[in-house]
Symmetry: C2
Amino acid sequence: MAKNKVTMKEIAAAVDVSVMTVSNVINGRDHLVGEETRRRVAAAIDELGYRPSAAARALRSSRTFSIGFVVLYDERKFLGDPFIAALADGLCAQLAELGYSLTIQGVFTDELSEATAFRRMETDGLCLLLSGSQPTKYNLHTLLKSLRQPIVVFQESVETTEPDMCAVRQDDRAGGRFLAEHVMARGARSILMVVPRVEWPAISERVAGAREAVAASHGVTMTLLAADSEKDADVQRALSGYLDAGHTPDAVLAANDQMAIAAYAVLSARGLTPPNEVMLTGFNRFDFWRYFQPRITTVASPAEQLGSRAADALCQRIDEGEFADNDIVLPVELIQGETT
Amino acid sequence: MAKNKVTMKEIAAAVDVSVMTVSNVINGRDHLVGEETRRRVAAAIDELGYRPSAAARALRSSRTFSIGFVVLYDERKFLGDPFIAALADGLCAQLAELGYSLTIQGVFTDELSEATAFRRMETDGLCLLLSGSQPTKYNLHTLLKSLRQPIVVFQESVETTEPDMCAVRQDDRAGGRFLAEHVMARGARSILMVVPRVEWPAISERVAGAREAVAASHGVTMTLLAADSEKDADVQRALSGYLDAGHTPDAVLAANDQMAIAAYAVLSARGLTPPNEVMLTGFNRFDFWRYFQPRITTVASPAEQLGSRAADALCQRIDEGEFADNDIVLPVELIQGETT
DNA sequence: CTGAAAGCGCTTACAG
DNA sequence: CTGAAAGCGCTTACAG
């Protein structure tokens, strides 16, 4: 590895000052350096193409200025998920702003503890998203505790027993409530909510929100239908089965937009085209949403802000030693489409 | 920062061996350690929750086992671009496989040299994607050279003057050729190709491929129409202007799928609904493609493989000191949709 | 305003 | 099979 790298020592030698002075210039401690000296050091740095070694600085100061984003997933292409991409975008932009870099790592759910993000100590803090099937709470709990690092978890309800953790999530409960209220205001008396079978905290919240709204009304019923997964085929099989049994709901609330689009195909094939025969709603309004006609009534996710708020929270924690807040909930917004 | 971190020294003390032995166990140099010793060390590591310091290892061995992915962009949400997300997915998965981690950084094009990925020395190599407006070749060239790191550039033609670089790209030229041949085989005699005004090497290649195919046929003409950007409104304005001038091409080749979808709206509003009146094609077939009806005839991009091949190339270079290949081109595939 | 010394936690020769 | 010593390139006290 003849990287012929330039070190502070060489800069110091070139300008004939101590490495200490070079360090002060690099770290902008200008009050500790004479203006003329500062200029000569800066010139040498430029000329020799010096770049500080992040490793040396991290070793000495025990700060890496780097944050890890760990995604537990079942599928290899996790950034293809628009929610995850938006989180990463928000994190990346805000961390750059704060002088941190972002290390991304995908981990198969069943190889939880194998992840190098967990095995090596290379970041000042971690953000964690549990997409896909959920590890047992106990395993996860034990693992995270053993890391001794500040951790932000996305879209989870915070465990009160965890001291150095912070949950950052969108107000899925309000979103569920908004949608249920919206279809009820338009006359729905029987509501079908289609969800994936896997227990996802965010989706449970959406269900809970819808239930709250329904409970507050008279004579409205809500049924939960579990599809084997979020995939089109599973959603369509579940919904077809339900309709075959002779039920016709006034409104179908899908757990997200992709599922709503899958449901749309089933409904329109049966002459129940939304919004005329049955109302239909989704959740999240990511970019692809605009390519589907008719536009699905949905709830807009603040996914990118979730990422940037996580960055803020983590850096605040690193600077101050403790999370100022351990459950950050961002508002969502109802988007009226053409399917209700 | 009382991180109360555990070090090799403490493990060594706990088991009463030297740190050297602990190091050997951690790095799997099993032939240098007795089986009984190995087991006791491993147990202590587990018990005390020891995680090796990446910084210390990097400082000593001058290997970070980390690769940077730098995206030059004009918009903040760069991972929302499906091409970039797919590259990142491919990189991330393959690097994890090879024991490396991935650091992602977005950089505004006009703040090129400010990027911390360029200012700090924290990776063993870099991948670079120039999306958005292009920096001047000279600035970029100078900057990259000064980094003294192996670099993979995506979707660029390799500069033969660069010794320690490798281009990884898809065969855009073949893609352009496939599409032109496809519409000509279906009777197109006049072809309009709609491209963004900004010079993008990948798009130039698509144009060059289409030109080759057209040149090889008799009596077929191809016209290039430059939109002010890739955005829907700009594409639609350019195309409307062209049609208003009295031209009606047999086929419209859009530079990518998003532009094709924008063009579709203009064409069908004028009674030129594809494929009956005018044929229409896109490029890339990313995930959102399936949500648009009718399916656009397009060319499938191997974006994720681009990422994993880049990871392979970079790690090979790091291990062997030199890129085995400095221009890697992956094949594309024509996807017949309903618009031709 | 400037500098000499110590040390962060590892790995790399080398010696037994 | 095991270990003592040196040193990677910085920053952190501290002394002038």
